[in-house]
Symmetry: C2
Amino acid sequence: MIRAAALAFRERGYHNTSLDDIAAELGVTKPTLYYYVRSKQDLLFECFTAGLAGIFAALDEARLSAASGCERLRIVLRGYALAITSEFGWCMVRAEDQDLDAALGARIRARKAEIDQQIRALIREGIVDGSIRDCDAKLTAFAIAGALNWIAHWHRQAEELGPGEIADRFIGFFEEGLRPR
Amino acid sequence: MIRAAALAFRERGYHNTSLDDIAAELGVTKPTLYYYVRSKQDLLFECFTAGLAGIFAALDEARLSAASGCERLRIVLRGYALAITSEFGWCMVRAEDQDLDAALGARIRARKAEIDQQIRALIREGIVDGSIRDCDAKLTAFAIAGALNWIAHWHRQAEELGPGEIADRFIGFFEEGLRPR
């Protein structure tokens, strides 16, 4: 259900998709949908959360790793790039813009801020252990997140490059930028 | 008028801003606005175009320069970053998402595609003259544009770093990433 909603939101936009559309696509009744979610907003939030799961899994993996800051950052960037190229990428990047109620908007911003803070922390750790050159961790995290989030604007399923290859090329570009001099 | 509209759209969102609001802010009547623009859509397009002017000026400057591909790319990236940190940044990045009519949407996409193609061409020229390392020009242009466009999502006028400083730091990051090995 969450996957069907994510595809519909990406395809037609959030405001142009109704719960009726999603129910029809799944071949179920609207009351069946309401058994699982209270509203279209909730469904968007579930799509957002499903996409973020890959990023949080990568952050956990990085936290448990004993590798350098640069290598742990690579784990996270790979998880991030794969999440954005997934069917949930649109919802992850665009959910916040959809005129959600204040409480839901705040929850989305809080989860995004958490990811941002953890990426900044990894950059700072890499600077300390010498695997990342001295740089402004905040602006660098913004540059990286911007480049990755923007994938959701241009990436199409028909894209010739697979998600793994896009992830690798972006990571290669960032690592050149962050390599100690 | 265009500047007032750009500020209002960024502040309250395009759909939550009416021509009445903009007229009231300028202390003019709505018929006065209609003397200059036919619709709110037109006004958004004017804001978009005003923001892009800085990028096209930089592209012209780069075209007339005899410097290396890398140095000409720097001229364009600086113009791009300054445009995005201007009051028109929001309209430049977000105009396309505002359910415009098909013709206006197509014009916006065409101008964006033109900028994308010119940035790719500069990257390819830099690869040929040896000032930029061998890379996928299309993905690199997307990564750079993504990082720069994203500035419109996080940048606030109260930001401690000025537009010029943000531009310089982003350019420094990209140039490290593109430096020949």
